[in-house]
Symmetry: C2
Subunit: 325 residues, 2 copies
């Protein structure tokens, strides 16, 4: 297995911090962020040294009702440009495309006509061939790409390794370890990191990590995988993201030693925009129901329903989950 890379004092120049607040956080409010919120987050991320900002999904406008979601479910070119103009910054723009939920052949311009830099392709393990087809399409259009294999905690180690090998032979730039259920302990996350890194590094690819905070381990797992050579690190302001949320950007920026990363700019954004969002009732973050699904390695959907109904009968809920295993 791979050795640890760097140490707690040194700077790793290969690190790329990816802000996923709008994309994963959008799952908490149906992507209904104000333009002011998104624009200020964009400016904050640039000042904070964030390397990529993911603006949302490129979801199919055929499949999804445009009136049921805010604009970041679809990330139309003109909506992106209304925020970033030509994006004259060092920060790159990313969007996510889900296998089977986007019209990727029609909805993406050639890179030279778009402010988007990277398309992140999310798939389940049985969709790897479809993901690779999309990755090759985006690569041919001129985009950077990532392949994000979800729900790996429910696949066998052999399947996961085979999926990573398939991605590694594609044109993909980054292969992501995704802890969809927040069920990984740092030791598990580190093991996945080493498997992905060995295969990806040999093929000249980078590896990323996307955490969920069901067991309050999103940050811990992120820095554990980092220590094994993972370089693309997903995080969001106050950990905003579906269910228990993601790795908190403020924790990550406080950890990284590269002076390009700046915590203070993010704090001003949190104080002015994130705290009010929470006060408006938008909910995410570590809580018992998400802990249960994380511990039991289950999809968080029942926990999200429990929270949405504002239930507090945790014991009954826990027992009902045990029937699901």
């Amino acid at each position: 297995m791979g050795a640890r890379k760097g140490n707690l004092m040194s700077v790793r120049d290969d690190i790329k911090v990816v802000d996923v607040t709008i994309r994963d956080g959008g799952l908490c409010n149906d992507f209904r962020f104000t333009d002011e919120f998104v624009r200020e987050l964009y400016k904050t991320n640039i000042r904070s040294g964030v390397d990529y900002m993911e603006f949302g999904y490129k979801a199919s406008r055929e499949m999804f009702d445009k009136t049921a979601f805010g604009k970041w479910k679809f990330c139309k070119e003109e909506d992106l440009r209304a925020i970033v103009g030509e994006n004259i910054s060092d920060m790159k723009i990313a969007v996510m495309a889900d296998v089977g939920r986007c019209d990727y052949k029609h909805d993406f311009l050639p890179k030279k006509d778009s402010v988007i830099d990277m398309v992140r392709v999310a798939c389940y393990i049985h969709q790897i061939p479809a993901a690779i087809e999309m990755i090759e399409h985006f690569h041919a259009l001129g985009y950077e790409t990532s392949g994000n294999i979800m729900a790996i905690s429910q696949s066998s180690a052999g399947e996961v390794e085979e999926a990573v090998r398939m991605l590694a032979t594609s044109s993909v730039d980054v292969i992501y370890v995704v802890d969809s259920y927040g069920s990984l302990f740092p030791e598990n996350a580190g093991d996945f990191a080493q498997v992905y890194y060995a295969i990806a590094d040999a093929a000249g690819k980078k590896v990323g990590f996307h955490a969920h905070n069901n067991q309050n381990l999103a940050f811990a797992n992120t820095i554990e995988t980092l220590s094994y050579g993972i370089s693309y690190l997903d995080a969001s302001a106050q950990g905003m993201g579906r269910g228990a949320g993601n790795c908190s950007m403020e924790l990550l920026l406080g950890f990284l030693r590269n002076p390009k990363y700046n915590l203070y700019s993010l704090l001003t954004f949190i104080e002015k925009y994130m705290i009010p969002l929470k006060n408006q009732g938008i909910r995410w973050g570590f809580d018992l129901p998400y802990m249960f699904t994380g511990q039991l390695n289950l999809h968080p959907r029942e926990a999200m329903a429990f929270e949405a109904e504002d239930r507090h009968d945790y014991c009954e809920f826990y027992k009902s989950l045990l029937d699901n295993i």
Copy 2:
């Protein structure tokens, strides 16, 4: 350095889970728990397989105003017995004695006349000689003892190692790594664990870990140190403890593979007693101000004052902390 002990699937019979809810949580409400709360927690801990329950401090009744605190600041024998009787259970009873803040020569009965099993002696690194004097006193009375060196993140590695060596030559049973400021990352905590374990194990002592959750790493640090042979693990219901709180017992019980540990009993207690406590306005847990002091390796006192004043000017507070370094 030491190798990792056991793996994620196996049972480590040397593990001792220590519930610190009343003792560390008492710092959030001046130890004003109802008898019902403490009695139900006692019964819950027994059902959950908890190995030790710490009931509070044996603080000096000369130094501290008895009317300003609940009874668990003082842990009088009759108050303990009102809850536990003769403690006819496998769970042991612990109390904490702070160097310089207890009348240890007068306030402790011989073990044969007390339901207390273990006295945990907390000290700063310059108080090691005083701590050892107390440990020898408690040992002579027949108690198990631990030595808990606080605030090690502000001492040099050499000082810490020397302090551990001094404790290891005493009659102490357990030497604790204490992350008072919640400033340790798992890699740091693991390094401390290995240093403590090597010295303690050679002297026939056990090692414990007491976390704080300032960087949302209390659970992660606990299981990291566990993997290096640490066996006494402090945790509390919902992480209740001073400031950002401790390792959550529900996360720890969900992690441990020994079937003697039972999460469900704890959930019933949380639903009936902990959630109402939070709803009454007793505050603890991860929040930005505690994150700041953890990241900056500072005592949490300013963060506690910030929370007590219900301030929300995080940026101003952060800047004021930078002036303190």
